[in-house]
């Protein structure tokens, strides 16, 4: 499972969570979850649960406040997947 695949999956997932006020421009790694995709902190909980299920990982609640952009999510998943693979 490489980073490109993870990125693709995160992008696809976020499309289903984007709110009514989401910026219609294409999603990139620098896209902001709240300001650009209209995803609030409650919905971020659901996104994390979906990612945990999809990649069989556990995302620590303590890191959630630091997940501000799409890139933050991709990096977090990528690093956890790598740890899982190596263990």
């Amino acid at each position: 499972m490489n980073t490109d695949y993870i990125q693709q999956e995160v992008f696809a997932l976020l499309k289903t969570y984007a709110g009514r006020s989401a910026n219609p421009t294409p999603v990139t790694l620098t896209t902001r979850l709240s300001e650009d995709l209209d995803i609030d902190s409650a919905r971020l909980v659901d996104i994390i649960l979906d990612l945990e299920g999809k990649f069989d990982i556990a995302i620590d609640d303590a890191c959630v406040p630091n997940l501000l952009t799409v890139g933050d999510l991709v990096d977090r998943v990528d690093s956890l997947v790598k740890v899982t693979k190596s263990s």
């Binding site: 289903t16 969570y17 984007a18 009514r20 409650a42 919905r43 659901d46």
Partner: protein, 424 residues
């Protein structure tokens, strides 16, 4: 005091999932009651119910994917009925549009049981299994008492009062009465009012246990709901939602809105669970007082009511309801108005029944017809005197004034008098 009119309708009913389909079904006497395999699996005595048949494409084209993810059936039915009502009243809704707040419109959307399907399917089993972390963020918004109104308010961007009311099987009519009061008093230009009830065995199981649901027609579902029949054997549980846009006449005329009917009055009370009234039964004195208060406030006499949409659930309470109507309206069997039971076709949608049946009432008033009350060819012996006032086929009728009544557990009563709009 402002005059109050109906400028929009929306419905998700077991025999029609939008207003056009519902009206056609009413005119045709089409039942929406079907066998429910899940009820059979669970060995419930009643295994039939009225549940709206919804095409997935309608749901997917009406709601955003992120919205569908957090809806239960109670919310979905409320949302579909409210959006249809909103559009019917002349307003626009696009799933992807972040519309501005409409400060002049509120929502009063009732429910009897709310998100009990979510509670039964997910909240209780996952909590008991120690999987609280996996519940996700949407549990409160799906299970809180005000879920239906909060959901509708968010979909449409409503900035007036947004609240949910609940009074058992009188809920829908109660919601519309509250809306009437607010618009009549000038506290709102418009209230999108109505009620919803989800499709869930967790709602129906309790009534099945009470032995008040029909258990004699599992092999012929469309004949199971038999209000006013000698062989009525209990109500058929149902689900759905109804919505009416109540608006001040001033506001409606200012924006050139189409007007279906005028709401003359709404009344509500309780029999106090005394004098024959209990948590489940109606105190006749209370029911009659409610009806008399409505007539008095509207300034109309009983003999000016052309049509009654009864509560009429197909239980032993049906003859009592007719007797209370006869007494309160001060009429005899010969002068009794036309009466029918929409539940004969759709079953008893509990908290949603009043709103769905108010939609039926307004459609009949507006369309000049009275729908058949099906499955009562073998009329109850106490109702022989009014047999010719109960249409068994769709009947053309130039109605002027219609009365909708609802009664609920808690010995609560609610009624509304509608008047046809336009030349009489």
């Amino acid at each position: 005091m402002y005059r109050v009119v109906v400028t929009g309708l929306g419905v998700v009913a077991p025999n029609g999932a939008n207003v056009g389909a519902f009206e056609s079904a009413l005119r045709a006497g089409k039942s929406g009651v079907t066998l429910q395999p899940r009820m059979t699996e669970l060995r419930m005595a009643c295994q039939v119910a009225g549940t709206p048949a919804l095409d997935n494409s309608i749901v997917e084209s009406t709601f955003r994917e992120s919205t569908i993810r957090v809806m239960n059936t109670s919310m979905m039915f409320a949302g579909l009925a409210a959006i249809e009502c909103w559009r019917d009243a002349g307003f626009s809704y696009q799933p992807d549009e972040d519309s501005p707040v409409d400060w002049d419109t509120g929502a009063i959307i009732g429910t009897g049981f709310g998100g009990i399907d979510t509670v039964g399917d997910r909240l209780v089993p996952m909590t008991n299994a120690g999987e609280v972390r996996k519940l996700g963020s949407a549990m409160p918004e799906q299970t809180m008492g005000s879920a239906p109104s909060a959901f509708v308010g968010g979909l449409l961007g409503l900035g007036g009062i947004v609240t949910t009311v609940s009074s058992a099987c009188a809920t829908g009519t109660e919601a519309i009465v509250h809306a009437f009061d607010r618009v009549q008093s000038g506290r709102a230009a418009r209230i999108l009012s109505g009620s919803t009830e989800g499709s869930s065995v967790f709602i129906w199981a309790g009534f099945d246990a009470m032995r008040v649901c029909c258990r004699t027609h599992n092999d012929s579902p469309e004949k199971a709901s038999r209000p006013m029949s000698a062989t009525a054997a209990g109500f058929v549980p149902a689900a759905g939602a109804g919505a009416l846009m109540l608006e001040s006449l001033e506001s409606a005329q200012d924006r050139g809105a189409r007007i279906y009917a005028e709401v003359l009055v709404g009344a509500m009370n309780s029999g106090g669970q005394r004098n024959g009234g209990t948590i489940t039964a109606s105190n006749s004195q209370g029911a009659q007082r409610c009806l008399k208060q409505a007539l008095s406030a509207a300034g109309v006499s009983g003999n000016s009511i052309d049509y009654v949409n009864g509560h009429l659930t197909a239980t032993i309470a049906d003859p009592k309801e007719i007797a209370n109507l006869m007494a309160a309206l001060e009429l005899t069997p010969d002068t009794f108005p036309l009466i029918n039971s929409t539940k004969s076709m759709i079953g008893h949608a509990l908290g949603a029944s009043g709103a769905i049946e108010c939609v039926a009432t307004v459609l009949q008033l507006h369309g000049g017809f009275v729908h058949p009350s099906i499955n009562c060819e073998d009329i109850h012996k106490k109702l022989h005197g009014i047999q010719n006032r109960i249409p068994t086929i769709s009947t053309s009728a130039q109605l002027s004034t219609a009365l909708k009544v609802s009664f609920g557990f808690g010995d609560v009563n609610a009624c509304i008098i509608f008047k046809k709009w336009g030349p009489q």
